[in-house]
């Protein structure tokens, strides 16, 4: 009984815990859509279509807990737009998941897929739960029941889920298996982000970081910079940051600073990324701990952000570049590996200082592009070598960068605004060309 009470108290809406005050994220996305619609002089009818998700499903997910009692979790699946193709978007497990958050994320997925021109609309899903309070068996049962309950609206040509906060390739494997069992046919193409042994794509793990590196390369070409004379700082040495640093190092750039949560390394002559990777793999999140090399100093994260480099790649948390440090940033180019690393106030300061910012919606889209490749391979029952995955990723990232760059220059707007305008324009054209049914 004590454990049951503990679980209930820990459940948002049931217990005594207060919700953390949050801004309405859906309102924020609507403001963004309205702003872009105004700049595009978008047809009001199409604008109103985009202001509402196409379909919203809320489900009550009963789960038999290990201790023999039943708990009911609330789950969502929201499809913002299928104008450009089947909907695509992750599923997250988190105590604070709510309808507005899922709506906002679904709409942003519509725009992200449009920016890189992959044939998807946007969706998102979630279950309101604290996964750390659940055992693996409970998570598995919850995933399977949630899958069964959203099955009427998902499908390989309807809506393809993927991992997000607190879900992973194992969760995706359970979803694929549940659908396969319920339909009586192997349906691996129902989700992406699966383990490679179960139809996942090679190259997925490094895809976001690789995309960041590819976009950086294109940016340097446009800026007329020689790669070998370019210095780069990477903040965040997780999956995205370490892959981006490694690939840029291979391309010939001089990576002079990297950092993780506890600070970083600064080597003005260029860091030995291979040895840094080895050290990072053996001391996760402890990059500085015990690392010594000639000419390498230890620096703080704040120092890394304002270090004297040509390109800065924030690949850690949100809002790392803010109004207070934006005036001190010395890099002339910023490529956003993380989601939302630049606050809106900082964005304006950087714009005034003529610092080029490649926005997250484009720069870190490599992950969703390779998810698209996974789906394509699953539909074909034919799997690509990693070289082919990377070659196609490059084609898409380079084309997308060129489109956003050219469009932004034509419209005389920053790359971030240009990327959103281009995305909304693509979705609007698809809606217009399809017409309004019936």
């Amino acid at each position: 009984m004590e454990r049951l009470l503990e679980d209930i108290v820990a459940t948002p809406g049931l217990g005594i815990r207060e919700e953390t005050p949050r801004t309405n994220l859906w309102d924020t996305v609507l403001e963004l859509l309205d702003h872009v619609a105004m700049q595009l002089e978008l047809d009001p009818g199409i604008h109103s279509i985009l202001r509402q998700p196409e379909r919203e499903l809320t489900v009550a997910v009963p789960v038999m807990m290990d201790e023999g009692y039943i708990r009911v979790f609330t789950g969502y699946r929201i499809q913002h737009s299928s104008a450009r193709g089947p909907c695509k978007g992750g599923i997250r497990y988190h105590p604070d998941v709510d309808l507005d958050e899922v709506r906002a994320l679904a709409a942003l997925m519509t725009l992200k897929c449009a920016v890189v021109n992959i044939p998807y609309g946007g969706a998102k899903g979630g279950v309101q739960c604290d996964p750390m309070q659940l055992s693996e068996n409970e998570i598995r049962r919850m995933t399977r029941r949630y899958t069964a309950m959203i099955m009427p609206i998902i499908g390989p040509k309807r809506d393809i889920p993927a991992p997000d906060v607190n879900t992973n390739s194992q969760t995706m494997a359970w979803i694929a298996d549940t659908v396969s069992m319920l339909t009586g046919k192997t349906t691996l193409e129902i989700v992406t982000g699966k383990p490679v042994a179960l139809g996942g794509s090679l190259g997925r793990m490094e895809a976001t970081g690789r995309g960041v590196a590819m976009v950086t390369h294109e940016l340097l070409k446009r800026a007329g910079r020689d790669l070998t004379e370019t210095t780069v700082a990477v903040q965040g040495y997780g999956n995205v940051g370490s892959a981006a640093a490694t690939i840029l190092d291979h391309m010939g750039c001089k990576v002079t600073a990297v950092s993780d949560v506890n600070g970083g390394l600064w080597g003005p002559a260029g860091l030995d990324i291979a040895s840094g990777n080895w050290h990072g793999a053996n001391h996760p999140k402890r990059l500085r701990e015990g690392y010594q090399a000639p000419g390498v100093e230890h620096i703080s994260n704040a120092e890394l952000l304002t270090s004297a480099v040509d390109v800065l790649i924030p690949a850690a948390l949100e809002h790392q570049i803010h109004a207070r440090n934006a005036p001190d940033i010395r890099a002339r180019m910023i490529v956003e590996g993380a989601n939302g690393p630049t606050s809106s106030e900082a964005d304006e300061i950087l714009q005034d200082r003529n610092i080029i910012v490649v926005p997250d919606i484009l720069a870190n889209a490599g992950g969703v592009v390779v998810s698209y490749f996974e789906w394509v391979q699953n539909l074909q029952f034919f799997f690509w070598e990693e070289e082919e995955v990377n070659r196609n990723l490059k084609r898409i990232m380079v084309n997308s960068f060129e489109k956003v760059w050219d469009y932004s220059h034509e419209q005389r707007v920053p790359l971030r605004v240009g990327a959103y305008m281009l995305a909304v324009d693509k979705v609007a054209r698809a809606i217009h060309q399809r017409g309004v049914f019936p």
Partner: protein, 183 residues
């Protein structure tokens, strides 16, 4: 003649919050975390948890870390009345890519401590507890002594309201802290 007194001279130093016994608090926190892990993984006892940890099993490490986070939150909240709530958070870039990262052992436990006001006393308390936890955890697993186990970021109401630093996480779409303790 009255002497001009500068404000700095009359400001009282914040009384330091001394952890009653950092070592025994750390031992208790780790025992409670192992108990939590055993319960979630349906393991018989601490020895079974220890075996999993020594085999570098990522699931047992994950549950232990979460257990530690909860009990650290509890300790900080009990010892410092300024602490309003404690959260855990993932650090790296995009959530989708955390899903594809290698599951790591011996990584850090990231905590955000939301306080009424930031004090050096709380900072010292955190540092003392972290040292003791890192020592106790290293001894438990028979490792070289870890320097730290926790990454603690302290934010106040202004940080949260103005979305400064880690205060921005509470209204983030992408990085979602999970509350582990609340007053």
């Amino acid at each position: 003649m009255t002497r001009q007194v500068r404000i700095a001279e009359v400001e009282r130093k914040t009384p330091e919050l001394l952890l009653p016994d950092a070592e025994s608090t750390a031992e208790t926190v780790i025992n409670q975390a192992m108990e939590f892990c055993a319960r979630k993984m349906r393991l018989e006892d601490h020895q079974a948890v220890l075996k999993h940890l020594q085999q570098r099993d990522a699931t047992s490490y994950k549950y232990c870390c979460y257990g530690i986070a909860r009990h650290v939150g509890d300790s900080l909240g009990t010892l410092d009345q300024n602490v309003k709530a404690v959260y855990t958070v993932d650090y790296d870039a995009t959530p989708e890519d955390i899903c594809f990262a290698r599951e790591e052992q011996m990584t850090l436990i990231h905590l955000i401590v939301w306080v009424e006001r930031k004090t050096s006393a709380l900072q010292s308390l955190v540092e003392g507890l972290d040292r003791a936890l890192a020592g106790a955890f290293s001894r438990l697993l028979g490792l070289d002594r870890l320097k730290y186990l926790l990454d603690v970021q302290i934010v106040d109401d202004a940080d949260v309201e103005k979305r400064v630093g880690y205060g921005a996480m509470f209204s983030s779409l992408y990085h979602r802290p999970i509350k582990v303790w609340e007053r």
